[in-house]
């Protein structure tokens, strides 16, 4: 049924060494090989392995399908290659070029051998293109997934790292928030704060938003939710670290923060918290005099 299936595999197998030499040369010229990140011998080795796999698999059909069992070993090879290049810092186009640059040597062989059969040549070129394109796209896809998993992991770490609850004084907790507050983070912040309230038996929590770059309606809503949850547990909240710019934004957006005590700086909030606990700070000389 497929004319190519009978011509291309034999041709690739026959000219395997020539194709490989030319391919590696092309890759070196195209700059996918970068000194320090990848050894030339490793590139040669990978190219050799890919070509061998391709020769073995192409006997059974030329339609690359990521789901079919026929291409499982090529798929695994490409996925592993793509992932390792992603962590080595290669760009997606450099990774895809690994596959795409194979076109030129194969086309050259096809042209040299099928010159007198233009129709067969056109069909063969088209199917080679389809085959290598889908493989190239697959490497890009895997590359993307590898990058995304890295980002997701970093995001998780960031969430865990950035929600410390510190005790300023017995009964007074502080929650310095740094970075943007989204729903997921608010949930973590809320849980951490409430758990620490119970664990320390604190009645006042200072939420410091000096490190929150922007406050929009959503962030304000998240803040108010945290405050109401703390209030339900029987703890008062004070929001501190409101920068002038943010105060303006809050008023312009029409956000009502009147239910919460707000202070410009953490020290003001701490002073208010001490006052509410019936404590005061006096200088030691005044105490002696």
């Amino acid at each position: 049924m497929n004319r190519l299936a009978s011509r291309l595999p034999a041709m690739v197998e026959q000219y395997q060494q020539e194709i490989l030499t030319e391919w590696v040369k092309l890759q070196l010229e195209a700059g996918t090989w970068r000194a320090g990140r990848l050894q030339e011998s490793q590139l040669r080795d990978e190219s050799q392995r890919f070509l061998t796999l391709l020769v073995n698999n192409i006997q059974k059909g030329v339609q690359f399908d990521t789901r079919s069992a026929q291409w499982a070993d090529i798929r695994d090879f490409l996925a592993e290659l793509s992932r390792s290049r992603a962590t080595q810092g290669f760009s997606p186009s450099q990774v895809a070029t690994f596959v795409f640059s194979l076109k030129q040597p194969i086309f050259a062989r096809l042209r040299a051998n099928l010159l007198d059969e233009p129709e067969v040549l056109a069909d063969a070129s088209w199917e080679t293109t389809l085959l290598l394109d889908s493989m190239g796209l697959y490497t890009t896809e895997v590359y993307q997934q590898a990058r995304e998993s890295v980002i997701a992991r970093q995001q998780e770490e960031l969430i865990e790292l950035s929600t410390p609850v510190v005790e300023l004084w017995p009964g007074i907790l502080a929650l310095p928030l740094i970075g943007t507050l989204d729903s997921e983070r608010t949930q973590v912040v809320m849980e951490t704060l409430l758990e620490r309230l119970v664990a320390t038996g604190s009645s006042i929590a200072v939420i410091d938003i000096t490190g929150v770059p922007t406050v929009d309606t959503l962030v304000a809503q998240h803040l108010l939710k945290t405050v109401s949850a703390a209030q339900l547990m029987g703890a008062d909240c004070i929001i501190s670290g409101i920068r002038p710019q943010i105060a303006q934004t809050i008023v312009h957006l029409g956000i009502d923060l009147s239910a919460v005590a707000t202070k410009a700086s953490l020290s003001d909030a701490f002073a208010l918290a001490l006052k509410r606990r019936g404590l005061s700070v006096i200088s030691s000389s005044a105490a002696r005099g």
């Binding site: 119970v198 038996g201 009645s203 949850a229 209030q231 339900l232 547990m233 029987g234």
Partner: protein, 127 residues
């Protein structure tokens, strides 16, 4: 039938809710509590819900009702010991229990009640 125990603590009443509330139990509690407030001339009511793993809008409303009834009988209500997960759920449901005082534990609740009662005594003297 289940009953929620109501303990007397000086001039305050301590209600410890330990089982899941349902309609009938809530009605019985309201009955018992109002009777007890009148009988003991209690000035404060502490409702300990630290054993409740789940609070829905029904219990939220019941707590509000009890606070309202007690206020009419001149007793202040403080809800104590809410679990963090319960607080988060209530906030997500949009219930912030307005008009109900809360405290972290029974100790803090008792201190808060004393504070409130002292203040209301003072203000009634001024009047």
């Amino acid at each position: 039938m289940d009953r929620v125990p109501i303990l007397r603590l000086g001039d305050c009443l301590l209600v410890t809710v330990q089982v899941d509330m349902h309609d009938e139990l809530a009605m019985t509690l309201q009955d018992d509590l109002t009777n007890k407030i009148v009988a003991t001339k209690a000035r404060g009511v502490l409702i300990d819900i630290s054993a409740l793993e789940m609070v829905d809008s029904f219990i939220g409303r019941m707590l509000g009702n009890i606070a309202g009834m007690s206020r009419i009988l001149d007793a202040q209500t403080v809800v104590v010991g809410m679990q963090p997960a319960v607080a988060i759920t209530l906030v997500e449901l949009g219930l912030s229990l307005p008009g109900i005082r809360t405290a972290l534990n029974v100790d803090a609740g008792l201190a808060l009640l004393r504070n409130v009662l002292d203040r209301s005594d003072e203000s009634s003297h001024v009047d």
